[in-house]
């Protein structure tokens, strides 16, 4: 029992990989065995995360459940794990979405074993980023997560998968190049990669000292932009978002669920965990620029969504739109650091990360449900499907409302917090982003309208193309997401408490 307590994080982190390695030895042909093994294996980290959540003490500042193991001692880098309120939320999101994504993948029949193994490896990669308290380990897990996702898109994606997967990989790696260089620089300057040590030393640097032949200010500015660029590509922040529509659209359903649900949050998390604490002055200086790009993401993302005829691409652009709010909140927090407004905005940003994870995963899943039956994502080819699939229709409307930010559901809480926190310090940007919010409603309603309402497209009503209702397994996938959306919408305190305490301690 004590082992469990002291190694909770490493268990959550490495069990998916161990499960994947066990799967390697299972027979390839037994798809049922492989699916259920992967699903059950992915439930274990989820259960452990619930244990973690319960044992977590929101009132304690700093990182809890810390574990440290020597890794690359020559460079002073160790496997240092720990969670605070913010990362705990993200860990929960990851361990919740992975089993759901695996359950959603039960409809995959081609090469089930490598598919499931890749998903499990991916889970470790994502968890590693959220749990890591060592900069080098952060980078290791950050990059490692790219490989499974590349193969998931490249091998199991749809028509344009080659292009989309290559673009995804190279674009993100390119963005991370700056991160790599900045991490190297930090290691050279401070002789350690431990985040906690770096927080102290980085901020206590004498402003007059000279580092690598440049002033402290210059070094910090360069490093700030290097870090920011890498995370901006991942979030994605306009104009570095162009990899996203292709990658999300071409990925298999579960791949999109994880991509939008968790991987995008890695970028935002990087902002929270690294950029704001390391570069408070620079963040304040350039908050306006960040806010401008965030607003652009919100508005252009919404416009982009509205103009789509491909249902999945519509949802993909909606991710750009929603993540824009996260960055707006972060920018506000950077600008107004220490004030109540900053705390409110940051709470909103982190909650939006969690909420968007739920709603994006849900929306992509629902698109996948209809795609599997109709083999098209073209909105013009649907129409009036509500009577044919009323349960699906109801669920689609529910998730769409969550995505839209209807009060009573989760999206509203986080978006309101962001706007409330950002308005006092970033008035113009907040007001302009409302335009984006208007179009958010527009594209969501467009999606629902084109699919469910209007004259029924007889093609789907009879014969071999007759649309079948959403089945039990699919309901099991979407139900937890719906329930959580509702719960957070009407009673967000259970999660906001955890987030808030962490935010107040940090900012």
């Amino acid at each position: 029992m004590d082992f469990l307590n002291t190694h909770l994080l490493s268990l959550i982190l490495f069990l998916p990989t161990i499960a994947a390695l066990i799967m390697f030895f299972l027979p390839s042909g037994e798809t049922k065995l492989l699916r259920w093994f992967a699903f059950s294996a992915s439930l274990i980290p989820f259960v452990l995360t619930l244990v973690l959540w319960i044992k977590f003490d929101p009132n304690k500042t700093g990182f809890q459940f810390q574990e440290q193991y020597p890794w690359y001692e020559a460079l002073n880098s160790s496997l240092h794990l720990g969670v605070d309120g913010i990362s705990l939320t993200m860990v929960l999101l990851t361990t919740l979405l992975t089993p759901l994504a695996i359950l959603a993948s039960f409809s995959i029949t081609d090469r089930v074993k490598p598919y499931m193994m890749l998903f499990l490896f991916l889970e470790t990669g994502m968890l590693g980023v959220f749990m890591s308290l060592d900069l080098l380990i952060f980078f290791v897990f950050w990059e490692i997560g790219l490989v499974p996702m590349y193969f998931l898109i490249n091998q199991w994606g749809s028509a344009n998968k080659e292009y989309a997967s290559m673009k995804f990989m190279i674009y993100t790696m390119g963005g991370s190049l700056g991160l790599l260089l900045a991490v190297q620089m930090l290691g050279v300057l401070f002789g350690t990669y431990d985040l906690i040590a770096l927080y102290e030393r980085w901020n206590s640097l004498d402003a007059d000292s000279v580092l690598l032949g440049m002033s402290v200010h210059t070094v910090k500015t360069i490093a700030f932009w290097a870090f920011t660029l890498a995370f901006a590509v991942k979030v994605p922040l306009w104009p570095f978002h162009t990899w996203l529509p292709d990658a999300h659209t071409e990925a298999p359903t579960a791949g999109s669920m994880i991509l939008a649900g968790v991987l995008l949050k890695l970028g935002a998390y990087g902002f929270l965990r690294l950029v704001l604490p390391f570069y408070p002055l620079e963040a304040k200086m350039f908050a306006g620029a960040l806010a401008l790009l965030a607003t652009a993401a919100i508005v252009f993302g919404a416009f982009g969504s509205f103009g789509q005829t491909d249902f999945k691409r519509l949802v993909a652009y909606s991710s750009v739109n929603h993540m824009g709010f996260v960055v707006l909140g972060i920018a506000a927090a950077g600008l107004a650091a220490g004030t109540a407004d900053a705390h409110i905005a940051m709470n909103g940003a982190v909650l939006q990360m969690f909420n968007h994870g739920l709603s994006a995963a849900g929306m992509f899943f629902l698109v996948g449900v209809i795609y599997e039956r109709t083999h098209t994502r073209n909105l013009e080819e649907f129409g009036g499907l509500f009577p044919l699939v009323p349960v699906y229709g109801g669920i689609l409307i529910f998730m769409s409302m969550a995505s839209l930010g209807l009060p009573g559901l989760n999206g509203f809480v986080s978006e309101f917090l962001v706007v409330r926190g950002a308005y006092p310090v970033l008035k113009i940007y907040t007001v302009v982003s409302m335009l984006g919010l208007l179009f958010t409603g527009a594209y969501i309603l467009k999606g629902i309208m084109k699919v469910l309402h209007g004259p029924m497209n007889e093609h789907w009503a009879h014969g071999e193309h007759k649309l079948t209702e959403i089945n039990m397994r699919e309901i099991f996938v979407i139900a937890p997401l719906m329930i959580l959306s509702l719960v957070i919408g009407i009673w967000p305190a259970w999660i906001l408490e955890v987030i808030n305490k962490a935010v107040m301690a940090l900012f």
Partner: protein, 507 residues
């Protein structure tokens, strides 16, 4: 340690070569058996040596053996390993073993596929073992004369191996170019070494080629400035330093598979190692004076090599040029003359050696079956040889410097070391990471995934043999092992680096 392990490791291949030449030419199986047994013994011994060194405190030169040869001229047969050479001895054992497995030479009657060496395996393995013995000899030599002796022994069998068993189109050209280039390089270095020998006599009255003795030969600074470049560059030619790298790609392509594995995997490390041992360690002032030039050459090699690899249509040329790029990283690390850079260079020598051996092995497997190395003509290999595909992907990830594999463990400290010296070079050289990622991913996709061209399908391509799989698995094991547990090799190299830094005067 009284057991003369280093002599046995070095001379066993020579003895085996003689034994094999005595076996009648038509007894191919017996020849192969002797070869495999010898390689296995050498691998076990070098592995045992490595472990003993690792567990024995890793201090200084160990397992020293001294046999007087020509005392009048101060030449003795002196062997010893330190932290830098022990991993390389292990590497040679690994490449020798897997090289023999790859060259096994099955003739598949049904599919008319002949893999490995069919023609005169007796002579082939005999010459290959002369090569191997020479390589071992250079790594363990602590006497400058013997270092040269073994160096030449390692070079001349290349001519025979390439011109007799190589690719018909270019083998004579490539063999001649390679041998002339390497001999000229070594002559230049030899002149420098003889001058050092003579000058030491004049300075200290001691007539000796003992390299540990030469560390305190009292070479004046002007002497070192003058002679560093001939000595370093003379050896570095074998290391593939730009602009003297031109022999390498042609040599790689023309050589039979096992010889390519040796060539890129071990021989090029010989050059870098000798440059380090003789150039940097014995002429430290010269090294400090000229490090900027070496860094310039190396960084050009890194980026230029990657660009050229990107445009190659021939798979083997691609790997050849990527070797130029990765050996450039080794040279870059050496040129920093600091702790991180030298550490990274040491790890990179091992990591790249294993990785490139894997690449060439798999390319050989593909070529034997498909009779083409042109990337556009290949495709869909993953379905037929999944084991090899996964091996190639792992090799590709190592090549890109993906965290979790040995390539990252090597490249990261190299960049850190370069940061300390010249941040601009670090930034410029890091571009190669993206280029490498791009061509690796593209070529993996083209060769292993996607549809198989019709012309290729007519060749009835079969899966790789069990021996091939053992070779692949062995190589992957090391790359993943060092990647996840750097502590298995890094501490040893650290000790070697400390010694070098001591000679450099703590730079």
């Amino acid at each position: 340690m009284n057991f003369p392990i280093l002599s046995i490791i070095t001379f066993l291949p020579f003895v085996a070569a003689v034994i094999m030449l005595l076996i009648p030419a038509d007894r191919k199986t017996e020849v192969r058996g002797v070869a495999l047994a010898t390689a296995a013994i050498d691998l076990l011994l070098s592995g045992w040596l490595y472990l003993q060194y690792l567990l024995g405190g890793m201090t200084g030169y160990q397992f020293i053996e001294t046999y007087n040869w020509l005392p009048a001229l101060g030449i003795s047969l002196k062997f010893g390993v330190d932290g830098m050479s022990a991993p390389l001895v292990l590497l040679t054992g690994i490449v020798m073993f897997t090289g023999v497995l790859i060259s096994w030479g099955d003739y598949d009657e049904k599919h008319h596929v002949s893999a490995g060496i069919q023609d005169r395996p007796r002579e082939f393995f005999a010459f290959l073992f002369l090569l191997a013995g020479g390589v071992f000899g250079v790594f363990v030599s602590l006497d400058l004369f013997m270092l040269f002796f073994f160096y030449e022994i390692a070079v001349f069998p290349m001519y025979l191996l390439i011109s007799i068993w190589g690719w018909v189109k270019t083998r004579e050209y490539a063999a001649m170019k390679l041998t002339l280039y390497l001999f000229i390089g070594s002559v230049v270095a030899l002149v420098g070494a003889l001058v050092m020998y003579w000058t030491q006599y004049q300075n200290t009255g001691v007539l000796s080629f003992d390299m540990i003795q030469m560390e305190s030969a009292g070479f004046s600074a002007p002497f070192q400035y003058a002679w560093f470049l001939p000595v370093f560059l003379g050896f570095a030619v074998l290391g593939g330093i730009w602009p003297f790298h031109n022999w390498s790609p042609d040599g790689h392509v023309a050589a039979p598979t096992a010889v390519s594995m040796f060539h890129a995997g071990v021989l090029m490390k010989l050059g870098a190692f000798a440059a380090l041992r003789v150039g940097v360690m014995l002429l430290p002032e010269g090294a400090k004076q000229w490090s900027w030039l070496i860094m310039t050459f190396a960084s050009i090699a890194v980026v230029y090599g990657a660009y050229i690899a990107f445009v190659q249509p021939d798979l083997k040329y691609m790997i050849g040029f990527s070797s130029v790029s990765h050996m450039g990283l080794v040279m870059l690390g050496i040129s920093t003359l600091n702790y991180n850079g030298l550490l990274g260079a040491g790890v990179q020598m091992f990591s790249h050696g294993v990785m490139t051996a894997l690449f060439f092995a798999i390319t050989g497997m593909i070529y034997d079956r498909s009779h083409t190395r042109q990337i556009p003509e290949l495709g869909g290999m993953a379905k037929i040889m999944p084991f090899a595909a996964i091996g190639f992907i792992i090799g590709g990830l190592v090549s890109m410097g993906m965290p979790g594999f040995s390539g990252f463990v090597a490249e990261f400290p190299i960049f850190m070391g370069v940061w300390s010296r010249q941040w601009l070079v670090a930034v410029a050289a890091s571009i190669s990471i993206i280029i490498t990622a791009a061509y690796i991913m593209r070529n993996i996709r083209q060769v292993f995934f996607g549809p198989m061209p019709e012309k290729l399908a007519e060749h009835h391509i079969t899966d790789v043999t069990m021996l091939d799989k053992i070779a692949i698995a062995t190589l992957c094991l090391f790359m993943i092992g060092i990647g996840i547990f750097p502590s298995m090799m890094v501490p040893m190299i650290e000790k070697g680096v400390e010694n070098i830094l001591r000679l450099l005067g703590g730079v």
